[in-house]
């Protein structure tokens, strides 16, 4: 699959093929081009070149980060998919090797097999070059260099290291045929160790075996239920869920996993599939809890002409060691909370269930925010301890919107003496401050004013958090205004 990286990218981003896009990876001296679109190739971009060098030729290239791990994962997926042709599939860089011994007749001979493969890859939108040969080495060579015969292929096709290839070419041994013509002994004594030409040659022409190792599979935990007769009553899904759950939980237990997302698929007789799925806040393999989460959604699955099979899958599972809370089975706070969050989220939707989060900002109204309670990482739940700002006593109650107040104070920067809030007059007996907080210049317009916060106590012993916005003569408006922002106690 010579273009898998760019094709995967193009599919994911739905880009126009005319855009001169290059995907890059970080090299020691700046970005290196990893893959290019056809348009970029036409403008002279090549994989392996430096981005800056390519830009020197044509500044129009649009550089984006490549995702080699994602590409490798896709190749891995294709490896599983290729199981349709052969039970023995091996990943080899950006390609696949299949052992098709005794398989071809199922597809109408080798030509049929190749045709089928090409068609399937075309349908998948991935460029693929396919070759069948008696040895893995030969198949690689033919798929990469084309042709039907090995002897005219260049020595590159042996997959030797570049220095060896260069030496062979200097010796005038440019094709595999030229190598085969030489006395074995003469060749063997000149290329040994890591550059074993004879060995590579032997493997290619089948004098030495080169067995394949199959790609490992790791299917998600899954429980299956096949029905003798199609079930058409609406209860069927919930009943199936009850019967499947123990099996799934058993699998989760075996593999020390806990489900984070669970889905029940109902396979209808007409070939369509109905799916219900839920997510959890922390990994779980508690049958009752999981059942309760999924039951309502399962009940909504429409059997139409009837389900003839059900599958319960833990699509997303995280490791969960077995644990016992305590001898007397007292519910643990964290877990109970997580279950509550799960249940609420299933009922109300993820947007409705949120939890507060600390934000690092000097501005009080920006110092906290909200995130969805489910889906955020476990560690951040519940919120971390307040950052190292303890010495700043902030009021426990903050007004949603600071309210304007009238204040008597000694200009320009004296302490406030008295203020009027909601028509009530408060004589200030004690005041501390100011704490000066300047606007966040990178976010706020340049006309915003700084705030001087004071902690004040009135004659009745009530304590307030008030601020003056601006300084007299700061050039950002007239006389400063006062606001009340929070209440203590």
């Amino acid at each position: 699959m010579p273009a898998i990286a760019i094709e995967r990218w193009a599919k994911a981003n739905d880009s126009s093929p005319d855009a001169p896009i290059v995907l890059t990876v970080e090299g020691t001296h700046g970005p290196i081009i990893h893959a290019v679109t056809r348009a970029a190739a036409a403008r002279g971009a090549r994989a392996g070149a430096r981005l800056t060098d390519a830009r020197a030729l044509d500044p129009a290239f649009i550089a984006l980060s490549a995702d080699p791990d994602g590409d490798a994962a896709l190749v891995q997926r294709f490896a599983h998919w290729a199981g349709r042709w052969s039970p023995l599939v091996e990943v080899d860089g950006d390609g696949l090797r299949l052992d098709v011994s005794g398989v071809a007749h199922l597809f109408g001979g080798e030509a049929g097999l190749i045709r089928d493969m090409v068609q399937c890859f075309v349908a998948a939108g991935i460029t693929a070059r396919v070759a069948i040969a008696p040895t893995a080495g030969a198949a690689w060579a033919l798929s990469h260099f084309g042709g039907d015969e090995l002897t005219p292929l260049p020595v590159h096709a042996l997959r030797l290291d570049p220095d060896t290839v260069r030496t062979l070419e200097r010796l005038g041994l440019k094709t595999i045929g030229a190598l085969l013509d030489l006395p074995r002994l003469a060749l063997a004594r000149r290329f040994r160790g890591g550059e074993d030409v004879v060995d590579a040659l032997d493997r290619m022409i089948g004098r030495k075996p080169e067995p394949l190792t199959a790609a490992p599979t790791d299917p998600p935990p899954r429980a299956l239920l096949k029905l003798e007769e199609p079930a058409t009553h609406p209860e069927a899904a919930v009943q199936a869920l009850e019967r499947l759950m123990p099996g799934l939980v058993h699998q989760l237990q075996e593999r020390q996993l806990g489900a984070r997302r669970l889905s029940l698929a109902g396979y209808r007789v007409d070939g369509s599939v109905a799916v219900a799925s839920v997510a959890t806040a922390i990994p779980s393999r508690e049958p009752k809890h999981l059942q309760r989460l999924l039951a309502d959604k399962a009940a909504e699955l429409n059997p139409e002409f009837g389900f003839d099979a059900f599958a319960l899958t833990a699509d997303w599972a995280e490791s969960l060691a077995s644990a016992q809370d305590s001898l007397v089975e007292e519910p643990s706070g964290t877990r109970e909370m997580a279950r509550l969050v799960d249940r609420l989220t299933v009922k109300l939707g993820p947007r409705a269930v949120r939890r507060p989060r600390e934000e690092e900002s000097h501005l009080p109204e920006r110092a906290s925010g909200w995130v969805a309670a489910i889906g955020s990482s476990l560690q951040a739940y519940p919120s971390t301890q307040p950052a190292a700002r303890e010495e700043l006593s902030r009021p426990p109650r903050l007004l949603d919107r600071p309210e304007a107040i009238a204040v008597i104070y000694a200009t320009p920067e004296g302490l406030p003496r008295r203020f009027v809030w909601r028509r009530a007059v408060h004589d200030i007996t004690r005041a501390e401050g100011p704490e000066r907080i300047a606007p966040e210049w990178w976010r706020q317009p340049s006309t915003s004013r700084l705030r001087d916060y004071y902690r004040v106590e009135d004659a009745d012993g009530w304590r307030y958090w008030i601020y003056r916005e601006g300084l007299a003569g700061d050039g950002r408006g007239g006389a400063p205004n006062w606001f009340i922002h929070g209440l203590f106690g």
Partner: protein, 1119 residues
């Protein structure tokens, strides 16, 4: 080397509108100031801080950067100009105790502080400093301390008694009003704490910048330091903009409740009696023998030297000059400086073999320096006035840089260390500043811009300081500069430009002191082991009048010395820099033809084009030649007027002022030597002085401030001033503007007359060598490693064109270095290129030595392998190299690949085949025997295909970077001839203006900044080179080919200059024929691109596909 373009130091200069120096002491003195030398903390430079302090009525200001004194000289210099008293100190961040501000009270205290910092730096990594309270305690005498409480006052309370015990003189605790809400309580607590420990609080505002509006930049540098973006920095940033320098009244108001904290600052400041002035002129003494004053000794040395230089007697003119110079030196007390330089030069000469060296710099071209042997430029032939280089009013020590052979400079450095001791000699620092590109990249990153956008922004300021261009470039890059976020980013980046980023080691600037160096300036570790350097840069040292000498490396000197040695060996003549015959007309003939490949300085394309126009006929012409092809004269449009006047096409006139304003010949005195056209830096400055009546301070300001990006506004005022005053005095406005433009160019690429003269001497000597001993010259060039403009292939080609037979690398004939061998062998085929020159030289009756390429040309071969190879000669089989020569097998294989076995009768392929059969084994007879038994001899040799010549040539290029067998273009000639492409040698006979097509290998691509987007390309084919000019419109259309092709075909028009014979091909259409190169070696696979980008110098591509072996070395690109 000429100064790099960049940020010559901004210097504060008194000017109108500036507040007068304070007359009364201010009630408060700020002591806690961080400058940008507290790297990535302080955000305002010394000048900004000083001017603010001056305006706010301070009379003194302290500087306390973190664990460094790197910024104190700037503060000292700015304050001295403004009339403030700088308090020199630093902030010590300790590993085991709260921080301290340390202010030395006198010179000895300063010495101890400096020693303390050196101690901390020497035991830490580069740029770090590790100090403990004990270290401080043992250096505490003569230093006043202030402790700096940490945020955690409980911890501080526990620490304070320990601090007090360790530092008996400690009596102050710093207190700042930080606007944190609880300042009253906190300062109150500190006050109680201080009293309880017998101390007092002292007010400071912990100043990080000069004005509140600098807060954004301070936040940005904090982010750079902490490697976060501005949006994620959170509590790492200060909540407000209060860390600026506040007025004394404001501080008094904030500390209303603690008046003693304010008065403490005044008392503290008044107790400090140290000034950096005290470090001035502590020159080493050992250069003068006992019983003589330095001046006496210098005079003795000078007159002895003079007698040696002019054995027939000193002319009256020189006598007068010497006396004059010596008197001036005595007056300014610079004798010890000259003696120190003389000592180093004398050392280099005294070695066996001596190290070739030459001085340059403002004072180097004096008669005294000639007598002392520091330079070889005879004052009798050049007309350089000493006063031009040493100005009395500048009070700066003279400037002499000495160039040494680059391979042997280390010996000189070691001598300096040995003679003066590592504790008295040190290498100066270079302060690495934020440049436009680095500033934009770092600020962009902080502001959350992607790498791509940062790159695009950076390219908008690529090498240009022209705002219009900036916008145009930004539009090209698809950026909308009206976006406020981008605007803000650019503005912040602009503020960051010129701020110091880190300290690095200067290439060769030495400072020498009389006292131990560590007591003058802290010394820290460099990145390399065994390298240490001081904290100050050249400007700082100059500012303080400390002795400094630049010990620089120059590759050309190595080459010249090697040539002299070769000539002595083969011709039996001994020459040196001063004895080379002067003014040989044939040398100038050669230069006039632009035949200067390999010659020092004048070998670039631009210089080669200039030579036939300028037609140098004497030494001074070379001085002009060196200086004229520089951005300064080009930008000032001085080149063409000079050429026209020289050719007599334009009368030599001198612009003159209105008679009412001055003598009509005031410019004649300045510009007489250069036909009325200002060419040298000094001339432009002198015009500013004489014609625009600049005061010497204004001129200094002009000189120093010119190149700095940040002083854009400043330049405009100076421009108005200079042009305005000249016009006022009756000069032609056009001429005035040109003079100023030229100064602007000089600011970036200074080239004063004295440098030009020293360089011109090397130009002459290397030209003479090239003319008289072409074989030795080429040999010296090749042995001095790649140091010039041209690759070995071009050097060899040039040598062959001058009639030198070049012989290939061979295991039985080559040494490590290239060598000279006997006369041309009669059997050697004579290449057409050599024919003409050979005939010429035979007619002259010169010996024709041939050049044998050395083993050093073989890529990847190590010196040790080559040495053992040479020791075991001669060889008759490949096997013998291993058994008898003990050459490692991989080296033998490299030699085989380089086709170095022809003397054994093996070609490349056969030798390689044989060498592959060798096996690396321990050198024991037993093993050799065992191996032979192991596999046995081969019954019948394998039959390998014969390597075609074209493939040999390609392989030659791969292994030795050149081929003597043929030029690659020869194999393509049939192909091109069929398409009516011409060869380069025919360019000479084609009529001007004709259309033609030509193809060749791309040797050099240049896009000089001064050429406004024009690209110059040099192509080479088997007959010679062709110079292309690509205009910007063609370049934009065919950029990919221009930047990417290694083999290029050009359709264009020939352009010839009747007078000077310069030939260009103006490209109309270009084609990339790189693929044809692949045909030479049967490789059918496509090439990847492999050229340098448009922004930097050329670099090798990082990742290369294994299939893509380089066939022809890439061109060298200069931008």
């Amino acid at each position: 080397m000429p100064e790099k373009p960049g940020f010559s130091r901004l210097k504060l200069v008194r000017r109108e509108g500036m507040a007068p120096p304070p007359t009364t002491p201010s009630p408060y003195v700020e002591l806690g100031v961080s400058s940008p030398f507290s790297f990535l903390r302080g955000a305002s430079d010394a000048i900004e801080l000083t001017l603010t302090a001056l305006a706010q009525g301070y009379d003194a200001i302290g500087i306390a950067d973190r664990n460094t004194l790197a910024g104190v000289v700037r503060m000292h210099s700015a304050c001295s100009t403004a009339g403030l008293r700088p308090l020199i100190g630093c902030r010590l961040d300790l590993t085991d105790a709260p921080s301290l501000l340390a202010y030395p009270m006198d010179r000895d205290g300063y010495g101890r502080l400096s020693r303390l910092l050196s101690l901390g730096k020497m035991r830490a990594e580069k740029g770090q400093c590790e100090l403990t309270l004990n270290d401080v305690a043992s250096h505490a005498e003569g230093i006043a301390f202030i402790t700096w409480p940490s945020d955690d006052l409980d911890a501080f309370e526990a620490e304070l008694p320990r601090l007090r015990d360790a530092l008996t003189s400690l009596s102050h605790v710093a207190a700042s009003w930080l606007y944190r809400g609880e300042d009253n309580a906190r300062i109150e607590r500190l006050d109680r704490l201080a009293r309880a420990n017998g101390c007092s609080i002292i007010a400071t505002n912990d100043v990080h910048y000069h004005a509140p509006d600098r807060r954004p930049l301070q936040d940005v540098v904090t982010c750079i330091r902490e490697k976060v973006t501005i949006t994620t920095a959170g509590f790492l940033l200060n909540p407000n903009a209060e860390r600026h320098l506040k007025r004394p009244e404001e501080m008094i108001r904030l500390f209303e409740r603690w008046p003693h904290a304010i008065s403490a600052t005044r008392e503290f400041a008044d107790a400090l009696h140290f000034s950096l002035e005290e470090l001035r002129y502590e020159y080493p003494r050992e250069t003068v023998p006992d019983g003589r004053t330095p001046q006496q000794y210098l005079e003795v040395l000078t007159w002895t030297g003079a007698a040696g230089r002019w054995p027939k007697g000193i002319s009256a003119k020189v006598m007068k000059q010497l006396k004059h110079e010596l008197a001036l030196i005595a007056k300014l007390d610079f004798a010890r400086y000259f003696l120190t330089v003389h000592d180093i030069v004398a050392f280099a000469r005294s070695l066996d073999p001596p190290i070739l060296c030459q001085g340059r710099g403002s004072a180097a071209n004096s008669a005294v320096c000639y007598c002392l042997g520091i330079t070889a430029v005879d004052p009798a032939t050049s007309d350089l006035l000493f006063e031009r280089f040493i100005s009395e009013e500048r009070k700066e020590p003279p400037d002499i840089d000495v160039d040494f052979e680059h391979e042997r400079r280390e010996e000189v450095i070691q001598h300096i260390y040995a003679k003066y001791g590592r504790d008295r000699a040190g290498i100066a620092a270079t302060i690495i500043h934020y440049r436009p590109r680095s500033a934009i990249r770092e600020v962009g990153k902080v502001m959350g811009l992607s790498e791509d956008v940062c790159g695009a922004l950076a390219s908008t300021v690529w090498g240009s300081m022209d705002p219009e261009l900036e916008d145009a470039r930004a539009n090209d890059a698809g950026l909308d500069l009206s976006d406020p976020h981008l605007r803000r980013t650019m503005k912040l980046a602009e503020q960051l430009i010129g701020m110091p980023r880190h300290l690095s080691q200067h290439v060769g600037g030495f400072i020498l002191t009389e006292r131990p160096l560590t007591e003058t300036v802290p010394i820290g570790n460099g990145a390399m082991d065994d390298r240490t350097f001081i904290e100050w840069d050249k400007d700082d040292i100059e500012e303080l009048g400390i002795l400094k000498i630049d010990v620089l490396a120059l590759g050309m000197l190595t080459c010249i010395r090697k040539c002299f040695d070769l000539i002595e060996l083969h011709h039996g003549e001994r020459w040196d820099l001063a004895t080379v015959p002067q003014e040989v007309p044939e040398v100038y003939d050669m230069l006039c033809q632009g035949d200067s490949l390999g010659v020092f300085q004048v070998e670039s394309r631009a210089q080669m084009n200039m030579l036939p126009r300028l037609k140098p006929r004497c030494f001074y012409d070379l001085v002009i030649e060196v200086a004229i092809v520089r951005p300064g004269p080009i930008q000032g449009d001085m080149v063409h007027p000079y050429l026209k006047r020289r050719a007599g096409k334009e009368p030599v006139t001198f612009p003159c002022p209105d008679p009412a304003h001055g003598e009509p010949d005031e410019l004649q005195k300045i510009l007489g030597r250069t036909l009325g056209v200002p060419i040298f830096q000094e001339q432009a400055m002198k015009i500013a002085l004489d014609a625009a009546k600049f005061s010497s301070e204004e001129a200094n300001q002009l000189r120093k401030a010119m190149a700095t990006f940040r002083s854009r506004g400043n330049i405009e005022t100076l421009q108005d001033k200079m042009v305005g005053r000249m016009v006022e005095r009756g000069y032609d406005p056009d001429f005035a503007q040109r003079c100023f433009d030229q100064i602007k160019g000089f600011g970036e690429y200074g080239f004063p007359e004295s440098h030009a003269a020293s360089f011109a001497h090397l130009v002459y000597v290397s030209s003479w060598l090239k003319w008289k001993y072409p074989a030795a010259f080429a040999c010296g060039l090749l042995n001095s490693q790649a140091m010039g403009f041209y690759a070995p292939a071009q050097i060899v080609r040039d040598a062959r064109e001058h009639g030198v037979e070049v012989r290939a690398v061979d295991v039985n004939c080559s040494d490590w270095d290239c060598t000279l061998e006997g006369e041309r062998s009669l059997s050697a085929p004579i290449e057409p290129v050599e024919m003409r020159a050979l005939a010429l030289r035979q007619a002259q009756g010169e010996r024709n030595l041939s050049l044998r390429l050395g083993l050093r040309q073989v890529e990847g071969l190590h010196r040790e392998a080559a040495d053992s190879l040479v020791a075991g000669r001669p060889y008759r089989t490949v096997e013998e190299l291993r058994t008898r020569g003990h050459v490692p097998v991989h080296a033998i294989q490299r030699l085989a690949a380089a086709d170095a076995f022809r003397s054994i009768g093996l070609d490349r392929r056969a030798a390689l085949w044989d060498s592959r059969a060798l096996r690396q084994a321990p050198d024991l007879p037993l093993f050799a025997y065992a191996e032979a038994r192991d596999e046995g001899a081969e019954a019948d040799p394998a039959r390998l295909p014969v390597m075609p010549l074209a493939e040999h040539v390609v392989n030659d290029y791969q292994t030795v970077r050149l081929s003597l067998k043929a030029h690659p273009m020869r194999f393509l000639r049939e192909h091109y001839a069929a398409q009516k492409f011409i060869t380069a040698d025919r360019l000479k006979i084609i009529r001007d203006g004709k259309r033609l097509a030509i193809a060749g290998l791309v040797l050099i691509r240049q896009r000089p900044g001064s050429a406004k987007g024009v690209v110059f390309i040099t192509l080479e084919d088997e007959t010679g080179i062709a110079n292309l000019v690509v205009w910007p419109d063609v370049f934009e259309k065919q950029r990919k080919i221009v930047m990417g092709a290694r083999l290029m075909a050009v359709h264009g028009i020939i352009q010839k200059d009747e007078d000077d014979g310069v030939i260009h091909v103006v490209a109309r259409r270009l084609e990339d024929h790189t693929h044809l190169l692949r045909q030479l070696s049967d490789e059918a696979l496509p090439s990847t691109l492999n050229q340098g980008d448009g922004a930097g110098s050329w670099r090798a591509p990082a990742a290369r596909h294994p299939r893509d072996v380089e066939i022809i070395p890439k061109s060298r690109d200069f931008h």
